[in-house]
């Protein structure tokens, strides 16, 4: 049934380890660790925006995955139809997702800032449905393969260890983004305003900070990062209309367990999530995502505000 296929919560296809099966244990573990960490970095880029906006405005935006999808499809379109080089599409992916976020926020989201969690969740679920259907209509339901430039497709050999170049790039990109975010938050005036708005919205307003504008910009940046993540994800996990829902759960886990508005929490949780997922898929594939969900539920019951919550 096509409809079912549209929503089947499929799994990341088992990564191909070209030489791992023949290698002794340590390099295999190192490979898994590194790949898991890289996957986690991807999740971080996808989720960090959600973490900050949820922590700032308490707005439950389940459509965050849709913004990622927009970025991904932007890259696909630019590369396929206009022959753009991959790296050139990345800023555009960021901007498209950010622009979409601004539009949605102005038109729809701001009407529901005071609404209940349920209303916000359902509204954004409606938007996810619409985005998935649109993507399926425009691009079809199959995966969208793209051709990466040759220099990024290979592997790097260091002794017994072998690492994918693209994954190295992912890790570096994520670390750069993290640095920019952390430095920006801690050392710029805008960053200070963001932190104020997160800590105490009413007081920030009272101090003359234009919280609405701050939020709009932060939301745009966060969604833009999701778009960037979506573009980066194509090579690692593929892109199909299901992406918005499939990876939404992971993003939500990163935010819920990491703690809202905590970049550090999102970073650590995303890394852990990526590594755990990679290891469990390799060593205990029959268990599936069950353990992941069980651990998440357990952690949330123990620490409802997240492991690294600010308050």
């Amino acid at each position: 049934m096509e409809r079912r296929a549209l929503f089947r919560r499929g799994r990341l296809s088992r990564p191909a380890y070209p030489n791992v099966n023949g290698l002794p244990v340590t390099p295999r573990i190192a490979s898994l660790l590194f790949d898991g960490f890289a996957y986690g970095m991807l999740l971080f880029v996808l989720s960090v925006g959600l973490s900050v906006t949820l922590g700032m405005m308490n707005f439950v935006n389940l459509a965050h995955g849709s913004f990622a999808m927009i970025g991904g499809y932007t890259t696909v379109t630019l590369m396929r139809s206009w022959d753009w080089p991959f790296f050139a599409t990345l800023p555009v992916a960021f901007l498209m997702a950010a622009a979409m976020a601004v539009v949605l926020e102005r038109i729809v989201y701001r009407r529901l800032y005071g609404a209940s969690d349920l209303d916000q969740a359902l509204l954004t679920i409606g938007i996810v449905f619409m985005s998935i259907a649109s993507a399926a209509y425009i691009f079809g339901t199959t995966q969208q393969p793209i051709e990466m430039p040759a220099y990024i497709r290979g592997r790097v050999e260091i002794g017994d260890f072998s690492f994918g170049v693209y994954r190295i790039f992912l890790v570096c990109a994520a670390l750069v983004i993290t640095a920019v975010l952390v430095l920006g938050l801690d050392y710029t005036r805008f960053g200070a305003r963001i932190r104020a708005a997160v800590d105490n919205q009413r007081m920030a307003r009272g101090l003359g900070i234009n919280v609405d504008w701050i939020f709009a910009v932060t939301f745009a940046i966060g969604s833009g990062l999701a778009g960037l993540g979506g573009a980066l994800a194509i090579e690692v996990v593929g892109l199909d209309p299901n992406f918005a829902l499939k990876y939404l759960v992971f993003m939500l886990i990163v935010v819920a367990v990491g703690g809202m508005a905590s970049i550090r929490g999102a970073f650590i949780t995303a890394a852990m999530l990526g590594i755990i997922d990679m290891f469990s898929k390799y060593y205990v594939p029959e268990v599936g995502a069950f353990v992941l969900y069980a651990v998440m539920v357990g952690l949330l019951v123990w620490r409802p505000a997240g492991l690294f919550a600010r308050r």
């Binding site: 349920l118 259907a133 599936g288």
Partner: protein
């Protein structure tokens, strides 16, 4: 110091009996009494037997889904909780009923009872978690539990049939007489009675002091401890009751279709039921029923439609309803009628 003359109408002492004694209970009685259009509605549910016989199977699906939606309304519409994973109980009840039948016990009524009991127990256990968390954590936990159960059922295909669904059920006739026929007469009668009886119980719960305290919880959770209410216990009770009814609906589904699909436990089902509830109007007693009717009839009529279109329009509908009709169809109707009633 300003001294204001105290008007004689304002007294601190209890008011002396007025000329026409007022019975305040009558105000509240007015709210809970059975209305004429309710009778009309329930009589109309008998129509499919006579008029639209080809739709009996659909009608039975609607009745079952309506019951599930109303059970969800208890916690979402009346208590103000969030649950993105209520299908856990629906599916659990379905699988219990299904497994009972598959392994030899095909008696419907007792099977239904066991399914309901099982879902109730599960609801009771989970309610301990639910009562202790709020907001985003609550959303994530309810979602997580649903996904967790789904994965569990998926992997345990030696028990549940996994993706292929639970097959091999065979139901004995109800009371030994009423066979589950292919046309759906028995199925619809069975589901309808299940819905109606459950509805009566739920209606009583909503109109009880407990129901009032649930609404209080929904309206202002901060105020409740300040009047001496223990919200944790209330949440646990209503969650357990709601789970029971959801399980009952699930059991009905399994027994009337003699099949349990994996999607009975899915997030999709939870989300769709939420949509139905919001569409009809949460906290409006009949909201879940109306929403289920509209949703399922529409889906049936548009079955030939490209599934992408369906999800697009569904998403759009959801957005429109939440932004413009936050109280759903019934809620907006109620607002209109109360406004016109108040015009002098």
């Amino acid at each position: 110091m300003s001294e204001t003359a105290i008007p004689s109408s304002i007294q601190a002492a209890p008011a002396s009996p007025a000329a026409t004694p007022v019975d305040p209970s009558s105000f509240l009685r007015d709210k809970v009494r059975w209305r004429w259009f309710e009778t009309v509605f329930w009589l109309a549910t008998l129509l499919p037997f006579f008029v639209a016989e080809t739709y009996l199977i659909l009608a039975s699906q609607i009745a079952i889904t309506a019951l599930f939606a109303v059970s969800l309304d208890l916690i979402v519409g009346y208590s103000g909780l969030v649950s993105l994973g209520h299908a856990v109980f629906f599916g659990f009840g379905a699988y219990i009923a299904g497994l009972l039948s598959k392994y030899g016990w095909g008696e419907p009524l007792t099977g239904l009872l066991v399914a309901t009991a099982g879902a109730t127990v599960l609801g009771y256990l989970i309610s301990f978690i639910i009562a202790r968390i709020t907001h985003f954590a609550l959303i994530m936990v309810t979602l997580g539990l649903c996904l967790l159960m789904f994965e569990l059922a998926n992997k345990a295909h030696w028990l549940t049939g996994g993706d292929d669904g639970l097959q091999g059920m065979s139901m004995w006739p109800i009371f030994g007489i009423f066979d589950f026929d292919l046309y759906g007469y028995t199925a619809y009668a069975y589901s309808l009675i299940g819905l109606f009886l459950s509805f009566l119980v739920i209606r009583r719960i909503i109109n009880s002091p407990f129901g009032l305290s649930l609404r209080g919880m929904r309206e202002n959770v901060r105020r409740m401890p300040a009047i001496g209410a223990s919200i944790k216990r209330r949440i646990q009770v209503i969650y357990t009751i709601s789970a029971g009814f959801a399980g009952l609906a699930g059991g009905l589904l399994a027994q009337t279709t003699q099949f349990v699909a994996l999607d009975a436990l899915s997030f999709q089902r939870s989300a769709e039921t939420l949509v139905m509830l919001i569409l009809g109007g949460a906290g409006q007693l009949y909201g879940g029923i109306i929403g289920a009717m509209l949703f399922l009839v529409a889906r049936d009529q548009l079955a030939g439609m490209n599934p992408q279109f369906w999800y697009f329009w569904l998403g759009l509908l959801l957005v429109v309803v939440i932004v413009f009709l936050p109280n759903g169809i019934l809620g907006s109707l109620a607002k209109l009628t109360s406004r016109s009633r108040r015009k002098p």
